[in-house]
Every structure is written in C-alpha cells, then in structure tokens.
C-alpha cells in the first residue's frame, strides 16, 4: 500500500522528472554502438553492424508513420531510395568538383532529398489516413520504382549508379575506405537520428501525432487539422528515411532501383512490426532481427523468405506488440521482483518449443527439397546433425517432432500462462501494475 501512495503523483511534481533509468538506457545504447565493433573484430561483423545501423534508422523513421501517427505505408522505400540516389549523385559531384565536403555530411544530402520529396508527395497522400493512405503509398511506390527504370540518366537503369566514397576529402585522417570507419559514420548518424526522432515524440507535434493516430476526429475539435499533423509527420519520416538511404549508398557505394522498390518497403514494415511499434526502441530490435535473418538465413536455406513469412505471421498472431512488447510485459514483474516465479515455467516450455520448431524446419526443408527436385541427393543439416531428405526415417522424425512438439509445447505454455498470472497477481499485491 505504501508503494501505491508513494507512486501516486501530485500535480506539483507533474513534470515527469527524467529518472536515472532513462539516461542510463541512452548511455547504454551509445556505449553498445561504440564498443560493438571493438568486441567483434572481424570484417564480416563490421559489415553486419553497418547494415543493422542503416536498417535501424530506416525502421525508426518508418515508425514515425506507423507507430506514432498510425499511418501504414507500403512505399516508404521511395524516400530511402531517393535519398540514396541523391547522395550518390552528390558524392560524385563533390569528387568531380573537388568540393570541400567530407563524407560524414553526405547523409544530410540524402535527408534533404527525402524531405523534399516527402514535402511534395505528402500533401496529397496524407489527406486521409487508413486504407486511402496505404493505397496511395503503394501507388506512389510503384510509380517511382518504375520511373527509376525509365529515367536512366538519373537512376542508371538496371545497373544503378556507382560512386567511390574515398574520393571525398578525408576528415581527421579518415578516408572511410575501411569498413570500420564506415561503421562509425553510420553509428554516429544512428545515435544522432535516434535522439532526434525520440525528441520529436516529446514535442507538441509528436504528442498530436499520437492523438491523430488514436482519434483523428476528436483532434479537429481541439484546434488541430489532422491532415497537417499527418503531413508534418510524413515529412520527418521522409527526412530520416533519406538519411538511412544515403548511408546505404555510402556503405555499398552504389544506388540502384532495388533501393526504392516494394521489397525494400516491405522489409522496413517487417522490421518495424516485428520489433514492435508501440515502443520507441522497438524498430531498433526489429532492425537487428530482420537484418540478421536476412544475412544468416539466406546462407543456410534456399527458402529463407518462407521463414520470414512464418515469423511475421507468428508475430502478428501471437505477439502483435512485437518483441518490444514481449520484453516490456515483464517490466512490472522485474520491478516487483516476481520474475523468478515464471522462469521455471519458461525453462520447461522452451524445450518442446524448440523441438516443435525443429520439426517445422525439417518438414519445410523436406518439402523444399522435393519441390526443387533434388530430394534424393540433399542432406538437411540441423544443428550440424545431417538428415537425408529422402529417408523415411527423416520424415518420421519431422512428423514426431512437429506433432509431438506442438502438443507438449501447448501444454507447457498453459503452464507459463498460469505462472504468469500468479506472478502478475503477486506483483499487483506489491503495488506494481502493468
């Protein structure tokens, strides 16, 4: 009870005083960005981290629309791609004319490109929210993607346009040839962009974005034009998408039609949704997961897009708040110290769940091997254990793992639900609510 009363704020302390946890979280985030490449020193991991950084900025910019303003866009890659193309043209111009602009400023070119196109396109497309907005974004995405193949002088056709980032003036002796230097350039912009986008959510405009998301009708009766709120939100999203696109152009030293296509627009939706739209950091988690999946899965299986789809459907159905919500659900339990009450149930559930997942993977791989007509010769490696795709014993294993795993997993997850309720109840008794 004392907890309850001490937590009830009085109007005088109404300013949500930023607590230590808030600053600690940001400090930890910056520390991770800075230290990660020093811990994992291989060139491959530096490439991976660079891609994650780009994807994180892109997904955060997407969440300005989806999570903050409630706008579902199927064409956000337009602003990413145009940012990338303008950055490449900018870099080539800087190199050709010997302009004194070092590489770290190039993302601003991409940002302003994204902003300008959002300013032009957004006014019409944000007139309405919901289905209308989604359809317009899809249409504009197709329009820009197809014109990128027509306007060859600007977009370079199928091949795209290349550039060389080391042709730009060096900064403090960095010429950005080595991947680690590019990584730190991306990391720098990730930190700046993340702070800026977070700050945006704490402004009057950012708060009204949430209001427009929740109830655009009522917003009109407290003095705001929801169209203007959506439009401004759209412009900011375009700006940060452009920065991400420019960073991609710097990283790959090329911009091509794939940058602004539907696949790219789909991936950012994936990443943002899987990470979780209702927490600011959700899209960052999503960017990590989706980038890793893209890189790793394509190495180990030919049908990696199928797994992508399954994961996405699984999240939509069972955890619509994404990874971030799954994690944040536990916050009251951690605060109340009742988390240990559910850990045993988790440990029990995890075993059959993994077995079930293995069964599903085996089944998919067997079917893939048969549909590709090479079942007789193909071996599926699961945790380094070889399975012959054509061997009936493998089919049996797949069936047993899938069906048995599912039945047992379902039982154990009921146990998790029960343990969850007990832990939550105990947390409430100690005065901590969700």
């Amino acid at each position: 009870m004392t907890e309850l009363t001490s937590r009830a704020p009085t109007p005088s302390d109404a300013a949500p005083a930023r607590n230590i946890g808030f600053y600690a979280t940001w400090a930890a985030f910056i520390l991770v960005v800075v230290l990660l490449p020093l811990i994992f020193r291989s060139g491959g991991s530096h490439t991976t981290f660079s891609l994650i950084g780009i994807a994180a900025i892109f997904a955060l910019s997407y969440n300005i629309l989806l999570g903050q303003t409630g706008l579902l866009s199927f064409g956000h890659a337009v602003y990413y791609g145009l940012g990338g193309f303008l950055a490449v043209h900018g870099m080539n111009a800087i190199a050709a004319h010997g302009l004194p602009v070092p590489l770290p400023f190039v993302p601003l070119i991409g940002g302003f490109a994204g902003l300008v196109f959002a300013v032009v396109i957004g006014w019409v497309s944000t007139q309405r929210a919901g289905t209308v907005f989604a359809m317009i974004s899809l249409g504009i995405g197709e329009l820009v993607a197809s014109s990128s193949l027509i306007l060859r002088s600007f977009f370079g056709g199928e091949a795209g346009i290349t550039t060389n980032r080391t042709d730009l003036p060096a900064l403090f002796g960095w010429n950005f040839g080595p991947q680690i230097q590019v990584y730190y350039l991306i990391g720098f912009w990730l930190i700046i962009s993340a702070i800026a986008m977070y700050a945006l959510t704490r402004t009057p405009l950012g708060r009204m974005c949430n209001a427009v998301r929740d109830n655009p009708e009522r917003v009109q009766f407290i003095g705001y034009d929801p169209h203007v709120v959506r439009y401004l939100s759209f412009c900011f999203a375009g700006f940060f998408a452009g920065i991400a696109g420019a960073l991609a152009a710097i990283n790959f030293e090329i911009a091509n039609a794939a940058y602004l296509g539907a696949v790219q627009s789909g991936i950012v939706l994936f990443a943002t949704f899987i990470g979780g739209v209702s927490y600011f950091f959700g899209p960052i988690l999503g960017a990590v997961v989706v980038t890793m999946l893209q890189l790793e899965l394509s190495d180990v299986t030919t049908v990696w897009q199928l797994y992508f789809g399954i994961i996405f459907i699984g999240i939509v159905m069972y955890a619509p708040g994404g990874i971030a919500s799954l994690l944040m659900m536990h916050r009251p339990l951690i605060r109340a110290g009742t988390l240990p009450m559910i850990l045993p149930a988790y440990l029990v559930a995890i075993v059959p769940t993994i077995l079930f997942a293995c069964g599903v993977i085996l089944t998919i791989e067997i079917l893939a091997a048969y549909s590709q007509g090479n079942a007789a010769s193909s071996t599926i490696r699961l945790f380094r254990i070889p399975f012959e795709a054509a061997n009936p014993m493998t089919w049996l294993a797949a069936a047993v793992l899938t069906i048995g795993g599912f039945l047992v997993a379902r039982m154990t997850w009921r146990g998790v639900t029960a343990a969850w309720d007990r832990a939550m109840m105990a947390a409430r008794e100690r005065g901590y609510h969700a």
Partner: protein, 249 residues
C-alpha cells in the same frame, strides 16, 4: 451586443431526408442554454452543424457575430467554440494526463511546434494539472483513458472540451448513463467550469435542465418549436403537447 451563437434558417438533409428544417436559434453571450427534444429530433445534428462536423445544406451560422458555417471544425474551435460528444470520444490509448494536455496545446499557442519539449512547458503543465483537479481525475492521471470507468470517461470528455478555454462550450448529454449521485456531481462540475462562459447543453434529465438553464429551446422534428426561460417553456402548450406531455405519461 452580438450573440454567442446565431443560426438563421438552417436546413440539413441527408440524401432526400430533411433532418433539420428552418432552424433558427439564438444563444446570448454568457447564457446557459439547454436544447431539449425527443430522441431523433436532431439535437446532436444541430451540434454537428454548429461545430462544423457537418455543413448545412442551406442557412447561416454565426459565432460571436462572425460567419462560421462552411468552416472546418478546427477553424471553428480556434474561434472559441468547443463541444463534447454524446458518445465518449477521447484518446483511448493515451493517458488521462495526455488527453487533457493535447486539448491544452493549441490554446496555449504551441500549435505544431516540433522544436519544444512538451514536458518543459510550464503553462501547459499548470493548465493540465488545473483541469485534472477540476474534473477530479488527478489520481487517475497515468491511466490510459480507455481503462477509465464510464463516469470517469464522461468527466474526461468534459475536461477535454473545456481545456482549451473556449468561450462557448457545447455539451451533448454529458450526464447520459450516469447514476443519480454521478449526475449531481457532473452538474455541479459543469456549473462551476462554465462560469462566465456561454453554455449550450443537450440533456434528457428534466431536473438537470430546469435547474441549470437560463433559457431552453425545444427541438422537435428538426425544428425549434419554442425558445424561452424555463417558466415560459413549462407553461407553453405546444411544448406540453409535443414533448413534456409525453414524459408525464
């Protein structure tokens, strides 16, 4: 002196059904004006017309002597008119505090600002805290609006409506669905919060109407059949026949 609201010969048709016909209504500044009438008479539609939610098919509406018919709802709101909704219409996923704060932002001049931290605007914070005190929801400030009890949501609805400091407040059945004690509390609240402002209220509870209103207009089939002080309305035979009579059966 100009009137707060003046409606002249306003008509509204949905398709070929005329819901509002030749509606004339005058609300003086500072007056508490109740609109009563049977279900489906067009009271909420009248609110929608005045607040810009829908535009009249014909006729004129003035706010403080200025033409507002044809303006968008937010333009009318910025000119000093604020309305509540018969069906609770709040920001369900946002906290009580945020609901009120959003309603304060435009009026305190912060508009679409994206360069100010909303938490460090003292005027906004002070006004939000004041309104929360007024509507007795301070202890619920961090609760998402969708999780409030029905009566609390109705109070929040009133809070959002008055938060911007509009000079003309329109409340559409603010006490509908409340228990007697809740109604008494809400009426006291409305009386206090609209002190010195113009109030237009739609209300079915006759004790509330006759206790609160300076003037009453009776709306039947989209037309005002009588408008006057509570005594005049009570004694009006047309009203007795069309409306009050029904109630007494």
């Amino acid at each position: 002196m100009t009137n707060a609201i003046e409606m002249r010969a306003v008509e509204k048709s949905f398709g070929n059904v005329r819901i509002i016909q030749d509606l004339n209504l005058t609300v003086a500044k500072g007056e508490r004006h109740a609109i009563i009438g049977p279900n489906g008479a067009g009271k909420s539609t009248t609110f929608n017309l005045i607040s810009g939610h829908i535009t009249p098919t014909s006729g004129e509406i003035d706010l403080n002597g200025e033409r507002i018919s044809g303006l968008r709802p937010f333009e009318i709101n910025r000119r000093g008119l604020s309305r509540s909704f018969q069906v609770t219409n709040v920001f369900a996923k946002m906290t009580v505090w945020e609901n009120i704060r959003c309603a304060v932002l435009w009026a305190t001049g912060h508009r679409y600002a994206f360069w100010k931290n909303v938490d460090s605007l003292p005027e906004v914070r002070r006004r939000t805290a004041e309104i929360l005190e007024d509507i007795h929801l301070t202890h619920r400030r961090d609760v998402p609006a969708g999780l409030l009890t029905y009566a609390e949501q109705r109070e929040l609805e009133i809070g959002i409506t008055i938060a911007g400091g509009a000079s003309v407040i329109m409340l559409d059945e603010p006490t509908a669905g409340m228990s007697n004690t809740e109604t008494d509390r809400a009426v006291a609240l409305i009386r206090r919060l609209t002190e010195g402002r113009t109030l237009v209220i739609v209300e079915h509870d006759m004790s509330v109407v006759f206790g609160l209103a300076d003037r009453i207009s009776v709306l039947v089939y989209g037309n005002i059949i009588a408008s006057g002080t509570p005594e005049e309305i009570r004694g009006n035979p047309k009203v007795k026949e069309a409306y009050l009579g029904e109630e007494e059966h």
